[in-house]
Each structure stands twice: as structure tokens, then as C-alpha cells.
């Protein structure tokens, strides 16, 4: 059992401050070979900061780090890597112009005897890792920037694997993965564990944590709260440690009155991406889109909103045709779209929380082109309060926020827009349980105010918990459309796997079992 061995890595009394923020104060943490040690806490609790201290990406203000019982000072990520620590960081660190193989082996290239790059081996090994370990079906020569977020996350997992490290840190590795991809990862983790590697696992998906972890450490506001054995605790107890109170029900659906059709999509197609997608949403309705990574859900939404082109089909908002390929027009027509990739498509990391949040709203809070700063800051403060964004001030650069808080900023930007139709793609990616319920509450409130909402999500519970209706997508085709009420998860999951259902909820309910692909 781990207790008897020496910890592989031990952090003692780590303190770390950023301007205006004390991210960590006197935090201790240890990890033994062959165990999975989960790190839990709210957004901005200091989890990522702590592991960055471990990987040499941050220098702690004070505190000690021991590896194999020897105190060391980690000065660079290189040094940490040499000590056998590898990390999948929360913010994706893909070099978009480089191809998949070069990203997987970033900083870890193969050389032949003459000391030059061994490209053959590079692509062979990448193929091996992609197929046999992480199950990613893309060409190793594809530029990584062209992958979907989920696929990029899998590339990063592959990268950590190539390190053959003794300690592998995973900071929300499944935030963009759906269940089946996540399962692949869990198998990987088991394998690594059997190899006596130590895993540090951070996730806001608490059932994952309960299933995977041997021990759990909870931190709150940069302080140690508790470290416990998983077998001695429950998810509810874990939540109460995390947020300092108990959470009754994550999903509290208050049904909204549905009105007339606001958005109608007819026979939307794009070669090789999605085909003949038709659906509509009503006022006050929350419609879920479910599917696996790469199913094409995001692509459909992007086409609707106009950031991508499509080949055929028609989009109507309030009965009026929406001109394709122009997000500005879509916004004017009353459509909002919260993208799934916050870093590349959602945020200006170099701009402040305030600037980011009000970007879409600006014309509405300005007169003759001059922004009303009072309105601006009161609006922003209101949202910072409502969805508890943890930031020293609204003028903080978004790039300095924790991952979950960045996500909240993007959400707030679209929530405050007051659209007729709001599309949210993976809205709670990286958001802690406490805030999740606040966000679900806000979405519910919007729908009760008559906004039609489309939720694209890879979390089946989320879909089941907040939606009125769900559409499943597989390989670019709509495979089923079902009312949530009385539906069970299995039906949705099997539809998402491509077992065709007729576009009719009743039939779906009748043919829950026994479908073949």
C-alpha cells in the first residue's frame, strides 16, 4: 500500500501569490507511486497553480519540494521533466501550425544515429500512440490547429504519455472529452498505475474522481482543507468540503412556457462534415445536442452562427432568412453563440474581464458610439457576482484568471447579450459543481424569459438535467430527436453511437432496446 512507501513527490508549505491574489498559502501535497491522487476544489482554488509549482512552470514564493525524499529546487519545466514529472495542462498548449505528430512529440523528438530528426520513426510512433493508446483517428500529418478541441486534448494526453514519466499530472484532461474517449483515458490511467506511475488527477467531474482516485485532496481559497481516502468518503461529502456548504440538487428544472418557433434549420449540409440537418427551437425551450467528440455538433452550430460556411440549406430566425457566413448579421438577428474553445475563439486573454464580457453588449450600452462606463461596470459587476467569477478586479486580464473563471467570463459575455436564441457549446467545461448549478439556474431563468437555448454538451447528465428536448448527432447526421421527459440515458447514448432512430420521440421510446447499427 502506498502509505508504506516513500512519496514520489512531496510538496510542503507551498505559498504563491500573484498581484492582488494569494493563490496558494501553505499548501502541502504528496503523491506515491502507483496511486491516483485527485485534487479538488472550486474554480480559482489554486489547483492549477499548485501543479504548475510541481512542474516548474511557476516558482513558489516559499515552501519545499521533495522528490524521492530529497529536497530540490525546480527552476524550469525541463528540470521537472528530467525528474520524471509530466503534465497535461488545463489550458491546451498546442502549436497550431505544427502537425499532430510534432505536437505529440513536442520537445521530445526522435533523432537517428547521425543526430538528425528521424521523421519516419516520428510518424510511426505517433500512429502507434494515436491508434493503440488514445484512440484518436486523425492523420499524424494534419496540422494540430485544424483539430477540434477534444482531439487537441487527446493529442496532449498522447504527449504526456511519450514522456514515460513517473508522475503524470492531468489537469482536467476530460473537460472536452465525451464518455467513450474518457473511458479510453481511464483505461490508460489504470495501465499507468499498474506500471507503478503516480497520477495527479484534477477534474470537476466528481464521479470520475470518485471512480479513479485512491486519495482526494481538497483545497479551497488556496488552503488545504482535507486529504482523504476515496473509499472513506462520498461525493456529497466531497462537495461540501469543496464549496463549504451542501448542494441539494445540481439540476433544478423549473419548466418554462414554450412559445412559437424562433430558430428553424432546414436541410443544412456541408460536404464531409454534416448532412441534411433540420430542426427547430421554440421560445423558452432548451434543446440539447449530444454526440461524441468529432460528431460534428460544433460544426453545425458554427455554420448556423455564420463563422463557417455551409453548402446547402436554410436558416430562419423569427421567420426571416439568415444570411450565411456572417456572425455580425447573426448577432443582429438575435442569435448568440458561446463557442467551445474559450482560448482561441472566445476570449481576448490580453484584455480585461470587463472588456471581454461587454464586447458583444457594447453597442447597447453606448450612446453615439461612446461607451457608458457606469453601465458597463455595473453590468459586469452584476455578472461577476451572479456566477461568482473569482477575480481581484474587473480590470484583471482574463489570461490571469483560472480556467474555470475564464469559462465563466465567456458565458457571461453571451448571457448578458439577451439574445432570442442562445447557443452554448460545452457551457460548463471546467466549471466547478457549485458554479454549475448557478449557471444552470441562469440558463433556466433565460428560458423562462422566452429565450430559446441550444446546449451542446458531451455530458449526458447535463443534457438530461436541463434540456427539454435532445437531438443526437453521429458523424454529421442527426440520429435522433427525443423529448427528455421520461427518457433514459441509454437511449440517448445509443443514438449518439449512431444506432439510427427515427426522428420521433415516441418511436424512440418504444424502441429503446435491441437496435443495431
Amino acid at each position: 500500500m502506498p502509505e508504506k512507501k516513500q512519496p514520489l513527490v512531496e510538496l510542503k508549505g507551498i505559498t504563491k501569490s500573484f498581484p492582488g491574489v494569494k493563490a496558494l498559502s501553505d499548501v502541502s501535497f504528496d503523491i506515491y507511486p502507483g496511486e491516483v491522487h485527485a485534487l479538488c476544489g472550486e474554480n480559482g482554488a489554486g489547483k492549477s497553480t499548485l501543479i504548475k509549482v510541481m512542474t516548474g512552470a511557476h516558482k513558489p514564493d516559499s515552501g519545499k519540494i521533495f522528490i524521492d525524499g530529497n529536497e530540490i529546487v525546480i527552476n524550469s519545466t525541463q528540470q521537472a521533466m528530467e525528474s520524471g514529472i509530466a503534465c497535461i495542462y488545463q489550458e491546451l498548449s498546442i502549436a497550431p501550425q505544427l502537425d499532430v505528430a510534432k505536437n505529440v512529440f513536442l520537445g521530445n523528438m526522435f533523432v537517428n544515429k547521425a543526430g538528425f530528426l528521424d521523421l519516419k520513426k516520428l510518424y510511426r510512433e505517433t500512429d502507434d500512440i494515436l491508434c493503440n493508446y488514445i484512440g484518436l483517428k486523425v492523420s499524424p500529418k494534419k496540422p494540430a490547429g485544424e483539430l477540434s478541441v477534444g482531439q487537441q486534448q487527446m493529442v496532449e494526453i498522447g504527449r504526456a504519455l511519450t514522456r514515460r514519466a513517473r508522475v503524470i499530472i492531468m489537469d482536467e484532461p476530460t473537460s472536452s472529452l465525451s464518455e467513450s474517449e474518457a473511458d479510453t483515458l481511464f483505461k490508460l490511467i489504470k495501465m499507468l498505475k499498474d506500471d507503478n506511475a503516480a497520477i495527479v488527477y484534477i477534474s470537476h467531474k466528481l464521479d470520475e474522481v470518485m471512480n479513479l482516485a485512491d486519495r482526494i485532496t481538497v483545497i479551497r481559497d488556496g488552503r488545504n482543507i482535507i486529504t482523504m481516502d476515496t473509499k472513506d468518503t462520498t461525493q456529497d461529502e466531497l462537495i461540501s468540503h469543496m464549496i463549504g456548504r451542501t448542494l441539494e440538487n445540481l439540476y433544478q428544472k423549473v419548466p418554462a412556457k414554450q412559445g412559437e418557433k424562433v430558430l428553424e434549420v432546414k436541410q443544412l449540409s456541408k460536404a464531409d462534415v454534416f448532412q441534411n440537418v433540420s430542426f427547430s427551437v421554440n421560445k423558452g425551450e432548451i434543446l440539447g445536442f449530444f454526440g461524441l467528440v468529432g460528431a460534428g455538433r460544433s460544426e453545425i452550430m458554427r455554420a448556423i452562427f455564420g463563422v463557417d460556411k455551409y453548402d446547402a440549406g436554410e436558416i430562419l430566425i423569427n421567420g426571416k432568412k439568415l444570411s450565411p457566413g456572417n456572425p455580425a448579421c447573426a448577432i443582429e438577428a438575435g442569435l448568440g453563440f458561446c463557442t467551445e474553445d474559450r482560448k482561441l475563439e472566445g476570449l481576448m486573454l490580453r484584455l480585461s474581464v470587463l472588456q471581454n464580457m461587454t464586447l458583444v453588449k457594447l453597442p447597447a450600452i453606448s450612446k453615439a458610439g461612446v461607451v457608458n462606463r457606469k453601465k458597463q461596470s455595473s453590468l459586469v459587476n452584476q455578472y461577476v457576482e451572479n456566477i461568482s467569477i473569482k477575480t481581484p478586479s474587473v480590470h484583471q486580464l482574463t489570461g490571469n484568471l483560472s480556467g474555470g473563471n475564464q469559462q465563466k467570463v465567456v458565458l457571461a459575455k453571451w448571457l448578458m447579450m439577451n439574445p432570442d436564441v442562445l447557443i452554448v457549446d460545452e457551457p460548463t467545461r471546467g466549471i466547478d459543481v457549485g458554479s454549475k448549478s448557478e449557471i444552470y439556474g441562469l440558463l433556466g431563468e433565460l428560458s423562462r424569459n422566452g429565450v430559446a437555448i441550444i446546449v451542446v454538451s458531451s455530458e449526458i447528465e447535463e443534457i438530461m438535467g436541463i434540456c427539454d428536448r435532445v437531438i443526437t448527432v453521429c458523424e454529421g447526421e442527426v440520429t435522433a430527436e427525443m423529448d427528455i421527459e421520461g427518457l433514459d440515458c441509454e437511449a440517448v447514448l445509443s443514438a449518439a453511437l449512431g444506432r439510427k432512430h427515427r426522428h420521433n420521440a415516441e418511436i424512440v421510446n418504444n424502441t429503446k432496446t435491441g437496435n443495431k447499427a
Binding site: 498581484p19 456572425p327 481576448m348 484584455l351 458583444v360 481581484p392
Partner: protein, 325 residues
């Protein structure tokens, strides 16, 4: 969240400000020169006349730098400003023979047109701004040469005389006043208007800006048009001052302009920067070259010292940020 006293807070804010490292370097330099120069050349450095003179000398660089700040914040570059200025001074001198109004409105209009061309190429046709503005710069410069055959054109206008040599309240020269107006208006546009905010957004993340419904292409085109407008305004103040236009007048000035902007803490990658920083930038350049005269440095010394001071100014900027962590 923190309980520091107000003073340290202000100081912190100052340090966080764009270009404050450069400002510190500049102030130190000014103090140093005013102490040393009486012993070397006997010149009194810190006089009102001298300070105003530096402002006046930097008028045209300053005006163009304001426009350039917009272009750079939006993530682009305009290497044609030197040639634009040249061409516009030449045109302004030509127009001046048809009267004041012709000269002023003609020049401003043509400034907008030149900017429009750059905007068209960069944002309409999506061409690489670095190369395209080098190309249009080459064309504008050639046109100026063709118009003048390389010789200086004299302007002819009395209003110009007033713009060039008049002053307000008896102590603020007209060109400086014009520059101050540009600075104030541009700073206001950048910080307080929807347009300005969106310029930042486009520069910080063009993709996310597009996804937020910002019509980036139109906005980028407008920054180039503004840049052309600033060149025209600068051309007018320049003509007003020297009452003649020389087709070699502004060769290479784009580097001074870009240096002013970047020194002021505006990121060459876009998304970050301010007009105030730019003001510090062009004053820095102005006070340096003026100060060197007071120290009677020869040209080589000037270059060496300028190089060293640039490095020091940047080091202060970096150090001060480290200090905060």
C-alpha cells in the same frame, strides 16, 4: 482586496501603465541632462522654450504615431506612413496655390484616399500588411518624386503661416495645439468608444472578435484610413512650418513612428497599447535628440547612447514587472 495605502497603489498603477519604464528612463535622462549640460555647453535644458520646442519638433511624428497606434493595436502595421507623409506634403504644397481651403481639404481628402487604398489591400483583399504597405509606400514615394522631380516645392499661403508659426494663449504654438487635439481625441476614441474597444478586441484575438460579431474588416480598414488622415494632418503642419515640401522629407520616418508607438508599450502583436504610451514614446525620441545637442555629443556618441538608453528603458520595463510579482 488588498489593504495598501493609496500612494503605493498609485505608484503600482503607474508601474503597470504602458511605457512607464520608458517614462522613468526619459525623466532620468532629462534630469541628468539639465544637471550636466550647463557644465558642458552652458545650455539651459529645462526651459519652457526648449520644452515647447521639443513638442513642436515632434508634432508631425506625434500625429502620425497616434494613427499608427490604432493600426498596431488592431494587429497590423503601416510601413507606408513615411511615403504617405512625403506625398501629402508635396500635394499640399501644390494645392496651396489654390488657396487655404483647397490645400487643407484637398490634403485631408487625399490622406483619406491613401489610407483607403492601404485598407482595401490589407482588409479587403486580406494581403499581408507588412509587405503591402511596403509596396504602397514604394508607390507613394515614387509619386512624390515624379510630382516634384526630386526638388523642393514651395507652398504659398498665409493661413499656413498662422498654423506654422502662430500660437495660442501666446505660448502654445499652433502645431503643438493641433497635436494635442489629435492626442486627446484619439485617446478618447480608443478608450471610450465602441470603435476603440473593438480595435483592441480585433488585435487581441481576431478570431474571437469575429465570433463576437465584430466586422473586423471594416474596422481594420478604418484604422488605415485614420492613419492616412493623420499623415495628411501631419503634412499640413509640416508644410505650415517649413512652407515647402521636399520629396525626401520623410524617408524612413516610419521607423521613428513605429518606434514611438512600440516604446510606449503598445504590443507590435496587437491588442495592447495606448495613446498615452505613444506620447511618451515620441517625446522620448524628441527629448533624446534635443538633449544630445545640449551635451554636444557627436553623432556616433548619440547613436551609442541612444542604443544604450533604449536597452535600459526596456530593462526598466521588464524589471518593474518582475518587481511586482
Amino acid at each position: 482586496m488588498n489593504s495598501n495605502s493609496k500612494e503605493t497603489n498609485l505608484w503600482k498603477k503607474f508601474l503597470e501603465m504602458n511605457g512607464s519604464g520608458v517614462l522613468i528612463a526619459l525623466i532620468s535622462f532629462i534630469i541628468l541632462v539639465s544637471i550636466i549640460s550647463p557644465h558642458i555647453t552652458g545650455g539651459k535644458y529645462l526651459t519652457w522654450t526648449n520644452i515647447i520646442q521639443v513638442f513642436r519638433q515632434q508634432t508631425y511624428i506625434g500625429i502620425i504615431a497616434c494613427g499608427m497606434t490604432f493600426v498596431i493595436i488592431s494587429g497590423n502595421i503601416d510601413l507606408s506612413v513615411g511615403s504617405q507623409l512625403t506625398l501629402l506634403t508635396v500635394l499640399c504644397a501644390n494645392f496651396s496655390h489654390y488657396g487655404n481651403l483647397a490645400a487643407i481639404f484637398g490634403t485631408l481628402t487625399l490622406g483619406l484616399v491613401l489610407g483607403f487604398f492601404n485598407g482595401l489591400f490589407v482588409s479587403g483583399l486580406k494581403l499581408n500588411p507588412f509587405i503591402v504597405t511596403l509596396g504602397t509606400g514604394s508607390i507613394f514615394g515614387a509619386l512624390a518624386m515624379i510630382l516634384t522631380s526630386g526638388f523642393t516645392k514651395r507652398a504659398d499661403s498665409t493661413l499656413f503661416n498662422y498654423i506654422g508659426t502662430g500660437s495660442v494663449l501666446g505660448f502654445i504654438p499652433m502645431p503643438v495645439l493641433i497635436m494635442l487635439c489629435v492626442v486627446l481625441i484619439f485617446a478618447f476614441i480608443l478608450k471610450r468608444t465602441v470603435f476603440g474597444q473593438r480595435i483592441y478586441a480585433i488585435g487581441a484575438n481576431p478570431k474571437a472578435a469575429r465570433y463576437s460579431g465584430i466586422r473586423s474588416r471594416a474596422f481594420v480598414a478604418i484604422t488605415y484610413i485614420l492613419s492616412g488622415f493623420c499623415c495628411a494632418l501631419a503634412a499640413i503642419t509640416l508644410i505650415a512650418r517649413s512652407t515647402s515640401a521636399n520629396p525626401a522629407v520623410a524617408g524612413g520616418k516610419e521607423m521613428d513612428v513605429i518606434l514611438s508607438v512600440v516604446l510606449g508599450g503598445t504590443s507590435i502583436l496587437g491588442g495592447k497599447g495606448s495613446i498615452w504610451g505613444t506620447v511618451i514614446g515620441f517625446l522620448f525620441i524628441g527629448f533624446m535628440s534635443n538633449g544630445f545637442t545640449f551635451l554636444n555629443f557627436n553623432q556616433y556618441m548619440q547613436w551609442v547612447v541612444m542604443g544604450i538608453i533604449l536597452v535600459i528603458a526596456l530593462a526598466i520595463d521588464v524589471y518593474k514587472q518582475k518587481g511586482r510579482v
